[in-house]
Symmetry: C2
Subunit: 305 residues, 2 copies
């Protein structure tokens, strides 16, 4: 059965690795977030697509959660010597991919075509697609004013509270080739345990993708990124508290209103699921290695069958 | 006294390091060749400017003659994995500079401004200028047809014989800001021991630079890149043999007809200087360390005084 997963980086990527272990990877299509794409040192960086690609190719740094394993930072050290920007950490191995992608984009190749080729060359059998080939950029509204996503997330270490998010270019953005076809052919759609606001919403901000989920005839199952009321990593809990009023399963589910049929939550959050108007699947969602990633993926698949 | 040197990479860069050791570097301006500039992996690479900058900043690999000392190649290995071009070797440290320069050029900064800033940030006190900010590219005519410089030099390892050289864009190219002023203010102009055809001619192909040398009121002294009839490195001897008919001091001097007042040649070539219609200075020109670089620079300065 063919599966489509919507995902951001880090936690989502980790989950996808488990999912690709328990299904035929050739039947899995991942639609990755591009709202946090950024130009660094003149290179087009797609942090979420890269985290997914690296995770699926077993090339990623599992500890750090982003970038390449066994990484070095010599180019960046020299860029610093020569006055270049260093706020966004690009490792030497990582740069190899960014150089190839940037060159391909400059030649007019769409991001989706580049991404598919890069993934194939890394030995990834899962189909990896960006949500859109067009420019779509996440902005966060903060007490300090609107901030471009990476200015907030990396440069300011997501210290500013977030009052809202918006997605520049989303109105005009069309899904990348293959995205709608994959959604239509899917027997199951999974939303990975990613930050709803800044990892999944920018995917859903592409109207045709959102509409495809809204009119679904197959189950859409979201995995909560919250464990015991807290984000495993990143600002999801702070954002949920400020923008939704809390970090319970209901607050997470509220981010996907009308778009999901079930929510997979951690055992630690099982006490707060009463009154939720959708199916709740309780399991261990913390992923700390191959076995737990697979178990979570299996729990998601079982909940759909 | 202010000195201007015209130079390519490797041998020229090595000589300049000696020259900067024996004069006040603040009084030295180097006009570097850009005919071998090339786009690699989407980056603007200026091999000769970089060899000069790295040599003057003591950052270069002296053994190899180009690129950075203590270099690694991890980004390039990954670019290869992802299908990127690897024919032109860009090391990790080297990439730091190319990234910063490419980004600056993309923002509209002229090459001369970028180059001066990069050199300053590397601690270089010599003024380093490209011959021109405009696009000027060396092509070689070979039995296999015309080849872009780096296609011939790097990709084909300069195996093809060369019947001629031409400099795309030279007709329109204006000297970079500061170049003519430096030439006019100079008390001495030196042509470094670089390949005449592919390192110095592309500089002289900028008409205003050539004219400034032709109407000089101060000595212009060229250092031959030939030792004992052979090039220390690279194809200069083969090119001289095929295009000028030999590798004697007269053949080297013929490359600069009407533009130089003296030629510095190696002791090994001293037997072949009879009948030369310009001053010949005989010394040891082989540079194998700081001391010999300095001695050669001092010999050049003495010959001008």
């Amino acid at each position: 059965m063919s599966i489509v997963a919507l995902s951001g980086g880090v936690g989502g990527a980790r989950f996808l690795r488990g999912l690709a272990d328990v299904v035929d990877p050739a039947e899995l299509t991942v639609i990755g977030n591009v709202g946090d794409d950024v130009e660094v040192l003149g290179l087009h960086v797609s942090p979420d697509l890269d985290s997914i690609l690296y995770a699926l190719a077993a090339l990623g740094d599992e500890e750090r959660g982003w970038g390449r394993a066994d990484e070095t930072w010599r180019a960046l050290e020299e860029a610093e010597r020569f006055g270049g920007e260093t706020w966004f950490r690009l490792g030497d191995r990582d740069l190899g991919l960014h150089l190839v992608r940037t060159q391909a984009l400059a030649r007019g190749e769409p991001l989706s075509a580049v991404t598919e080729r890069l993934a194939r060359l890394a030995g990834v059998r899962v189909r990896l697609l960006p949500s859109t080939d067009e420019r779509l950029r996440t902005w966060v509204e903060t007490p300090a004013g609107p901030l471009a996503f990476q200015d907030w997330f990396v440069a300011r270490r997501h210290a500013d509270d977030v009052d809202g998010v918006r997605f520049e270019g989303a109105e005009q953005a069309r899904p990348a080739p293959g995205v709608l076809e994959a959604l239509e052919a899917a027997r199951l759609i999974v939303i990975a345990p990613s930050n709803p606001y800044i990892s999944v919403w920018p995917i859903l901000a592409v109207r045709a993708i959102r509409e495809a989920l809204a009119r679904r005839s197959v189950p859409v199952i979201a995995v909560s990124p919250i464990v015991g009321g807290r984000a495993v990593k990143g600002p999801a809990d702070r954002m949920l508290t400020r923008m939704a009023g809390g970090t319970s399963p209901a607050h997470v589910a509220g981010c996907y209103e009308g778009l999901i049929d079930a929510l997979v939550v951690d055992e630690a959050d099982a006490g707060a699921v009463d009154g939720l108007a959708l199916r709740v699947v309780v399991t261990k969602t913390l992923m700390v290695g191959d076995a737990s990633r697979r178990r979570l993926a299996e729990a998601v698949l079982e909940s759909a069958s």
